[in-house]
Amino acid sequence: MEFTMKSKKTKNRLQTFTGYLSFLIALIALIFLNAGLLLKTEQMPNFFIIELPQIGLMLGIIGIFSRNRSRLFAIWGIALHLFIFLFIFLMIIFGLSINPKP
């Protein structure tokens, strides 16, 4: 019987950088979405509510495949970006169905 010190692989609880970035981008996009809704303006730049969430979604997907890191932020990032896309899609559908004009 031999005694050997096996270094136990502990799971690193630090967040993935891409996941963190994805979550941060989702928050920025949500801030602009809220501002657009509160100001009732149609001048909101598409970059913040369409292009930025696309980048964020990709970063979130990369983040979720990272090993040995917590994927919580990546999951939150992906969920928020998907919500933003779902929101835009449903708003277009609902907007077109109320008081439709040819």
Partner: protein, 345 residues
């Protein structure tokens, strides 16, 4: 069993001292390799705390930022699913045509905006005077879910109807059997120059068929709106004593396909259909209409039983031609509405 005993025998080749030595050296090795200073420990705890705080802040922020989009989405869903928004717009549209003499709107230009669980609609309102449609103002209605506030009307009229009807004398149309007859405006009509076109509210001396009445009108004049007898116009009050206002329909076909009085069917039929629709949504229609009571069911039943007979009408055309109305036996009195410069070609 014998084999197991042999194995145990093999493992026991180390002495007690050797074991102790090995354990001590392992403990020392562990202490050297995994030694964490107090400073490092504090740092690790601090990092953990920071991580947890950052996570809490970000998740809380995300949840807060989701509130308005979710409520907005719920508002749109409420008005879109089941056509609630369109129904409210249709009520406002039909109420205006039926309760406001000679007023129309462009259905394609109705604007709507959404707040949280509310919808605002606004549109321009037109009157036909002479041969042209004039924008006479706009109407704004706020709906909290499906409940409308009183509409905000901005009408720029020379001779508007009272916004809150409280006296029968103030109304422009009266029933042949009505005791109270609003004063007649023949003097005003005579004083207007010939180069003008006018809108005239005509009260008839007997109930008439609209087609027959139109045939008796002077040349170049147009019957634009007819006030239909519903059995309540003699007294002009409902069972609770509240003043009612005339209801009727635009007599001419509206070329706009989206109008409730377009050319698909005769206007009288579309009027009854509109009444049936408003009957189901009377509470909303009453809030939007000038009168604080409409009694649509009672009046609709009367019209279906007795047919469409008119007791009043709005006629427009050259002022000179409208003066001829005075000689018509069918006409009991008139009220002059809006007057514009000549616009007939």
């Amino acid at each position: 069993m014998q084999e197991e005993e042999k194995d145990v025998g093999k493992e026991s080749k180390y002495t007690q001292d050797e074991y102790s030595h090995f354990v001590d050296s392992s403990i020392k090795e562990f202490e050297v390799d995994f030694f964490i200073t107090e400073e490092s420990q504090r740092k690790i705890v601090q990092t953990g705390k920071n991580q947890a705080a950052k996570m809490n802040i970000m998740i809380s922020l995300a949840l807060l930022l989701l509130i308005i989009p979710i409520l907005t989405l719920a508002t749109y869903a409420y008005y879109a699913i089941g056509g609630e928004g369109d129904k409210l717009i249709e009520i406002a549209d039909k109420t205006l045509y039926i309760t406001e003499p000679n007023m129309s709107l462009e259905e394609m230009k109705i604007e709507n905006e959404f707040g949280l669980f509310s919808m605002d609609i606004h549109y321009d309102v037109f009157k036909r005077i002479g041969n042209a449609e004039y924008k006479i103002g706009n109407q704004f209605i706020h709906f909290g879910l499906d409940q409308p506030n009183f509409p905000i009307n901005e009408f720029y009229l020379e001779r508007p109807l009272p916004e809150n009807p409280y006296k029968q004398e103030n109304e422009f149309l009266s029933h042949p059997n009505a005791r109270i007859l609003p004063g007649s405006d023949w003097g005003i009509l005579k004083g207007l120059p010939d180069g003008t076109v006018s809108e005239v509210y005509v009260s008839l001396s007997s109930l008439q068929n609209p087609e027959k009445f139109e045939e008796t009108l002077p040349d170049y004049t147009e019957l634009v709106w007819v006030a239909v007898d519903t059995g309540m116009e003699e007294k002009m009050i409902d069972s609770e004593g509240k003043l009612i206002t005339p209801i009727g329909y635009p007599y001419q076909e509206d070329p706009d396909n989206w109008s409730p009085f377009n050319g698909d069917e005769v206007n009288s039929k579309q009027f009854i259909e509109a009444l049936d629709f408003l009957e189901k949504n009377e509470e909303t229609a009453v809030k939007i209409a000038r009168a604080k009571t409409l009694c649509i069911k009672q009046r609709s039943d009367y019209i279906k039983k007795h047919g469409i007979k008119i007791y009043g009408a709005v006629v427009t055309g050259p002022t000179k031609e409208l003066r001829l109305l005075e000689k018509m036996q069918e006409v009991r009195s008139i009220k002059v509405g809006e007057v514009k410069l000549w616009n007939l070609r």
